[in-house]
Symmetry: C2
Subunit: 271 residues, 2 copies
């Protein structure tokens, strides 16, 4: 299986917000996250850089050093690439993987399947918000979640072996990526809000005026996995809802009646 992902300066990252090593590693992790959601083992990568003339050799090596770190971490060998000039720094990463049996896709979720996610949601978006507000020194764990995302390769392999019906990585935000699975599978879903694995910190909400539940639903770039499965997959998965025959995503607050969700995309930086 193959996947391609692009990270564009000013859209997906700001050079003031992370080191060039982190940028290189982040580009690889972001691309490998797609493979993870297919239940595939990373094998090889191609890295295509568009570099502004002002980027010097040391800076270029720093990016490739970060790529190399990811290469070692994920056992994914960079077998080629391309270097072109341009006004805007971007890294386009193509990754090649080997699926364990049939590759997982967005389609295949059944009514009655559980909705499971790995890790926590909304932390990366919170980290980006902290960076934008110049508050990176406080609550560093969230900033690191944004700077150095982890592709959930092991979780994807476990999910594939466990007979998962459908999977996607949460890059655009839970509601938006869940919507992709629901549309591809012709099902709906009820999400139990109290079950969302997310930061719970009243001090952050009060001081920054952010809604952490909203970030968990709509904040992007967590690169966690979302799967539809009849049985709980082993590993770091939390059940947060149930797929339904009724179309549409509904949110259930405690024991109340589910209400329709309004999906709102995650805009990174805008252009």
């Amino acid at each position: 299986v193959l996947s391609v992902d692009a990270q564009v300066e000013g859209v997906h990252f700001d050079r003031g917000f992370l080191s060039l090593q982190q940028l290189g590693a982040r580009a690889m992790a972001s691309a490998l996250s797609d493979l993870a959601a297919m239940g595939a083992e990373p094998r090889a990568a191609l890295v295509s850089l568009i570099c502004p003339p002002a980027l010097n050799d040391d800076e270029l090596y720093a990016i490739m050093d970060g790529v190399g770190q990811a290469q070692a971490r994920y056992g994914c060998v960079v077998i080629g690439g391309n270097l072109a000039r341009g006004v805007q720094l971007s890294i386009t990463t193509t990754v090649i993987g080997a699926a364990i049996g049939r590759a997982l896709t967005r389609s295949g979720a059944h009514a009655g399947d559980g909705l499971y996610v790995t890790g926590t949601l909304g932390s990366a978006a919170l980290g980006l918000e902290l960076l934008k507000r110049g508050q990176a020194d406080r609550w560093q764990e969230h900033v690191e979640r944004w700077r150095t995302p982890i592709a959930r390769v092991e979780a994807g392999l476990l999910a594939a072996r466990a007979g998962t019906h459908a999977a996607i990585d949460v890059s655009d935000g839970l509601l938006q990526d869940l919507q992709h699975v629901c549309e591809a599978s012709s099902v709906g879903c009820v999400v139990d809000l109290p079950r969302l694995p997310r930061p719970r910190d009243a001090a952050i909400e009060r001081e920054l005026g952010v809604d952490l539940e909203r970030l968990a639903l709509s904040g992007g770039e967590d690169y966690e996995l979302l799967v539809a499965a009849p049985e709980p997959p082993s590993g770091d998965f939390t059940r947060i809802g149930t797929f339904s025959a009724e179309i549409g995503i509904r949110l259930r607050d405690g024991s109340g009646v589910p209400r329709p969700a309004e999906a709102s995309g995650f805009d990174h930086f805008g252009v």
Copy 2:
């Protein structure tokens, strides 16, 4: 085998110089030319676009229409891609091919091997020069050579079957790409200038003040193949020189003594 290539607006193309369909087809041909030089059959491609917000849907479809034309021409199925926003239009194309036996590389040329190239050299660079000077209506064949390059897939397969020692595609200019082969193979080469397959048109040289021999040596983007082979490969190959144990590229004018070549890269548009 895999390869990746990027086409960046303002660096590799100018939207005033070709249609968006031509741009899409050109991006595929440029990437497939790398596969051709490996002696590989195209199988699949991934297309990653960075699009400025001003690019509308019709324009995007026009690019993908051109990609589709190349897909049909080369039997290379687009199996995925990515769409990101950015300030500068670019297309990064990853192509996957199947090598016939061992893939050809830049290394492996032996002293005594013949230097062969397909087609003609310098025509694409001349076409670009005509476009820059607003003279596209005259000498259209050269303009078309720049706008719609052809990946020499068949020639690459023939060369691989014929036991070619090394190969590369001429994208940066003959001298520069030959230099890559010489360095990777630890050999040198003598190029016989009168044998260069190139446009010979005194009217063009006089009216435009261009040196067509210089364009054949240093003009890029012809996407012809250059191979080192002990015997002439079948197909559209012209012998233009001989690899040598002596390091360095030398140019021989008629029967004269070879003089060292000064490689000068092809700068596309600059940034």
